[in-house]
């Protein structure tokens, strides 16, 4: 029918879909006729448009299909729905506890799932990311196992030449090393310096391999010339708003001898990658000292490789070992280093998939702020536990209230309901409840998301725009509905009509042993979570209050002082003249994280070719350092201005003295290639996380002075900082002062630990709330059943105590059993967890007692409310009706 009208098909189909059969022919005919006329008069487009408009205008009651679902199924579903709603309405308290507890559990689950989803999706967006690996060093000596990612400078080049399975290899230096880390940043056109962090060095191949997208500039050549600089989009917008930054000249730290040309603007890194830079400096043409790029001495380069699709893992690892022997061991032997044999014996390699870097690096010594797969597991378990607790509430309440539904079940069976229908009915009911709880739960999660984000230091959002989110939620509604409803529905549908209609079924007694075990499970889980929360919090407090070996309070660290150049000493002296300033020291080595570090190999002088070196930090400090930081010299003396020979003196910490094996170290000479006299021993202090053991450390006099630490008096901190700022401004009018307090930096170091504690505690509390909601409803139900009994007992002379005891003893028994179950489990779990810490607390009886007591008090308070209310009622009121 070529000449029949061709209005838009979808609109026509829509019309046929909603329009009833009585009306369709007439209306459709009219529409086609109009369409034809319009098409002739005004053209196809307008006719189409009008047709659609007309179709929509037909959507009115007269035209709609009449609901004529006569099938029994539909009617039954309608009936189930109605009965479910009536039941909910009649028992408002029970329904709200069921739904409320469920919603809380679901909200917690949603938040945790979002957190887990985010954590599990790090580093997934690189082209062929499944073939990209980070090369990891292993040290496999028994008792001294170690992993770290830093490689020597020439390593990558050798890999490129000698391992054909490697498609591409690139290096990055993500450390505070030379210009890596933080710098003062100034465009050649500007006068003011700005402090910027997150600088790294990298190869051109590094960008090629990971496929970072560029907004401007050519990603293929951006790092292929020396003295270039790639910056992130957000930094480009900050420094060059509205201007194309390509080709602009940049000075770092006022160094006009070494200008940088911006060669590329990279898309700002997303939050779900383990990389954390805003500026990339090229490694092209860089040599940090003479011969550095070809020397196998020093490991500062994290090296990433992309393997060919057909590459065999084992063979690549074997070839890496060959490279170790061919180059590194040869180098060590040439230097006469005694470690060479150990290297052959113990040193190995590992290829870590780039996707695993975020969550599977806790045993690898890199400087990134990693997630931890153990935490992921822990949260996953907590989420499932909370959901289970909520489901158990649901199951317990449904079966407890079964007496109220027993007659209904009996009657339905009498009039012909099969068991399957009844199961269907109760499942429908629980899915309906699950739907309501989910809606409420999503609402709760939505409202609490900002707080959760702050807690977890994330920026999570609801992924409404992803395809799977809504279907996933609906599937969960069904799943949870079934999970919670399956037992009650089988239980309720099993009643025999004759018995229930005669009233033989005793009130909810049939399931009491199961009910009991579920209550035990709920409370055991809650107790374990409380024990967990108490232990986690105590451990955190222990860490934060541990004796550090230095005094972190009232120390302000002024940064970027290297630009003072030779005026740094006058500035420091002026500072010390301020009345509120107790002392000041210029260095950039501080015992908080993210400061400069310098690892050296140290020998006792004369034994370089005999002993294995002691690895030690070498900190370059000044005369005032130890005093300003409040450290203690336990043997020998501090550096002194009077002693000219102190320029070759060294102070070591106790750990280092032990490791060097000196009985009396004062006056002995040690060397890292340059021999020095030991003049003092400083008491061990924590300079990395207090969760790690203290490593050897040495201090020498030196001029590394990016920062000045100022010890100020505790009074009038604001006034003190104002006068320090004034002084700074008189020295450096073009560079705003930048300082931070050491205790704040210290607190930030343990932010993660603290967050974990708080999040864990919140979820533990939530679990207890849910469990108590269930207990409350159960006790209320029991009291309701026994109202007459209570009345009669009271009439016969029972006291308040008698009654309370007889009503609560059953619950107390359950709770006691749950404590007995929970104590060993909680104790063992937390003991294992504390093994992660070098300095951990003990899980004492006291902790168990506190947790047990908390649960006891909370649960007694919960059941008391209803019991006390029922006991105080005048017996006449409960008994008069019969």
């Amino acid at each position: 029918m070529n000449d029949s009208p061709h209005p838009p098909k979808w609109a026509n189909r829509l019309l046929e879909w909603f329009c009833s059969d009585d009306v369709i022919e007439t209306v459709q005919g009219d529409l086609f006729e109009l369409y034809e006329k319009r098409e002739k008069a005004k053209g196809r487009a307008i006719a189409n448009l009008r047709f659609v408009r007309d179709v929509l205008s037909i959507y009115r009651p007269f035209a709609l299909k009449k609901k004529r679902y006569n099938s029994n199924n539909y009617a039954m579903f309608k009936n189930y729905y109605r009965v479910a709603v009536r039941n909910m309405m009649r028992h408002k308290m029970y329904s709200s506890i069921k739904i409320g507890g469920f919603a809380l559990g679901i909200a917690a689950c949603i938040l945790i799932s979002m957190f887990l989803y985010d954590e599990l999706n790090y580093d997934k967006n690189y082209p062929d990311g499944d073939r990209i690996y980070r090369v990891i060093n292993q040290w496999n000596e028994k008792g001294d196992e170690n992993k770290w990612p830093a490689m020597t400078a020439p390593f990558a080049g050798v890999v490129r030449n000698e391992i054909p399975e490697v498609e591409i290899v690139g290096r990055i230096i993500p450390y505070n090393w030379f210009l890596g880390g933080n710098n003062l940043f100034r465009s050649a056109e500007a006068t003011q310096n700005t402090y910027e962090e997150r600088f790294v060095y990298a190869d051109q191949e590094f960008i090629d391999m990971l496929g970072f997208r560029f907004v401007a500039g050519d990603p293929k050549t951006a790092l292929s010339e020396p003295n270039t600089l790639v910056i992130s989009q957000r930094k480009a917008e900050k420094h060059f708003p509205g201007i194309n930054p390509i080709g602009k000249t940049i000075f770092l730290n006022d160094d006009e001898e070494d200008p940088r040309i911006i060669s590329g603007v990279m898309e700002t890194l997303p939050s779900n990658t383990h990389f954390d830079f805003d500026f990339i400096l090229p490694l092209k043409g860089v040599e940090f000292w003479k011969g550095e790029q070809s020397s196998w001495c020093c490991s500062n380069y994290e090296t990433y490789v992309k393997l060919r699709p057909d590459a065999d893992h084992e063979r690549v690892l074997n070839k890496l070992v060959d490279i170790r022997d061919k180059y590194y061991v040869t180098y060590l032997r040439y230097r006469g280093n005694q470690a060479a044999d150990d290297v052959v014996r113990y040193r190995g390699f590992e290829l870590q998939p780039v996707e695993d870097v975020h969550l599977h690096s806790t045993d690898i010594g890199d400087r990134y702020n990693h997630g931890d797969i153990k935490i992921i597991w822990m949260f996953g378990v907590v989420a499932i536990l909370i959901l289970l607790l909520a489901c158990i509430n649901f199951i317990n309440l449904s079966t407890a209230k079964s007496a109220n539904r027993a007659k209904e079940v009996g009657l339905r069976k009498v009039v012909g309901s099969a068991r399957g229908n009844l199961i269907m009915q109760f499942l429908t009911e629980s899915v309906l409840l699950s739907l309501i709880s989910f809606s409420l739960g999503i609402l709760i999660a939505r409202v609490s998301l900002p707080y959760f984000n702050e807690l977890a230091n994330k920026s999570l959002t609801f992924p409404f725009d992803t395809i799977w989110f809504i279907p996933g939620l609906l599937a969960s509604v069904l799943f949870i509905g079934f999970l919670a409803g399956i037992y009650p529905s089988f239980f309720l549908s099993s009643f025999k009509p004759i018995e229930v209609l005669k009233g033989k079924l005793s009130m909810g007694s049939k399931s009491s042993s199961l009910q009991g075990s579920m209550v035990i499970f709920q409370f055991a889980a809650s107790v374990i979570l409380i024990i967990g929360a108490v232990v986690v919090n105590r451990q955190m407090n222990f860490i934060l209050n541990k004796k550090l070996g230095f005094n972190k309070d009232h120390i302000a660290i002024i940064q970027g002082t290297n630009t003072l150049e030779d005026r740094i000493d006058p500035f420091k002296e002026e500072l010390k003249k301020l009345p509120q300033v107790k002392n000041a020291t210029a260095t950039h080595y501080f015992p908080v994280s993210n400061m400069k570090r310098d690892q050296n190999a140290v020998w006792i002088e004369g034994r370089q070719k005999i002993d294995i070196a002691v690895g030690a930090q070498f900190w370059r400090v000044d005369y005032d350092y130890i005093e300003t930081m409040g450290m203690k010299v336990v043997q020998g003396r501090d550096f002194s201005r009077e002693m000219a020979s102190d320029s070759i003196a060294i102070i070591i910490n106790q750990t280092m003295a032990d490791q060097l094996g000196f009985d009396d170290p004062i006056g002995k000479r040690i060397t890292n290639g340059y021999a020095r006299n030991i003049i003092g021993i400083v008491e061990d202090f924590h300079f990395e996380s207090v969760t790690d053991p203290i490593e050897p450390l040495a201090m020498v006099l030196g001029r590394r002075r990016q920062m000045i630490a100022v010890k100020v008096s505790s009074e009038d901190l604001q006034g003190t900082m104002a006068s320090i700022t004034d002084l700074w401004d008189s020295f450096m009018p073009n560079q705003p002062i930048r300082y931070e307090f050491m205790d704040q930096r210290f607190a930030e170091m343990y932010d993660d630990v603290k967050r974990t504690g708080i999040v864990f505690t919140s979820f533990a509390i939530l679990a207890i709330v849910i469990a108590c909601l269930g207990l409350f409803a159960l006790s209320a139900f029991m009291v309701e059943q026994k109202r007459k009994e209570i009345g009669i007992r009271k009439v016969l002379g029972a006291t308040f105590r008698n009654l309370f005891h007889s009503l609560s003893s059953n619950f107390l028994k359950l709770i006691t059993i749950s404590l007995i179950v929970a104590f060993p489990l909680g104790w063992y779990t937390m003991k294992r967890w504390l093994e992660n810490y070098e300095y951990g607390i003990e899980v004492t009886w006291e902790i168990l007692a506190i947790s047990g007591l908390t649960i006891l008090i909370i649960s007694i308070a919960t059941i008391s409310y209803e019991i006390v209310r029922a006991v105080r009622v005048n017996p006449a009121e409960t008994l008069h009706s019969e």
């Binding site: 007439t26 209306v27 009219d30 086609f32 109009l34 408009r53 007269f62």
Partner: protein, 107 residues
């Protein structure tokens, strides 16, 4: 029973079109005489109500090619419909006569 303003118009049109009153012709006539463009949905809705109230009756007509083979539904003014129109008109006239200076006369 009441008659809405639009319903009354439709009823008048059905009467005026005699044997040729179906969706499209009614719509076109309304457009021509009132200058307004009722939507086809509103029109059918009104016709449906008028039929329910018994003011019009309907009969199926023959199919034509331009309607894609769909039959027309022709409407006729029923007895009660006619009576309703007369009543409505009388009511209007009674009021109109009481307005001074308003001179209404049938054409």
């Amino acid at each position: 029973m009441k008659l809405g303003a639009f319903e009354e118009l439709v009823l008048l049109t059905v009467g005026a079109l005699k044997d040729d009153a179906y969706g499209v012709t009614i719509k076109e006539m309304l457009e021509k005489h009132t200058g307004k463009r009722p939507s086809i949905g509103a029109l059918h809705s009104a016709l449906y109500r008028l039929e329910e109230k018994g003011y019009v009756t309907s009969s199926d007509g023959g199919a034509t090619r331009e309607r894609g083979g769909r039959r027309k539904k022709f409407y006729q003014l029923s007895g009660s419909g006619q009576k309703m129109l007369v009543e409505a008109n009388e009511l209007r006239m009674r009021f109109a006569k009481q307005i001074p200076g308003l001179n209404l006369s049938a054409e």
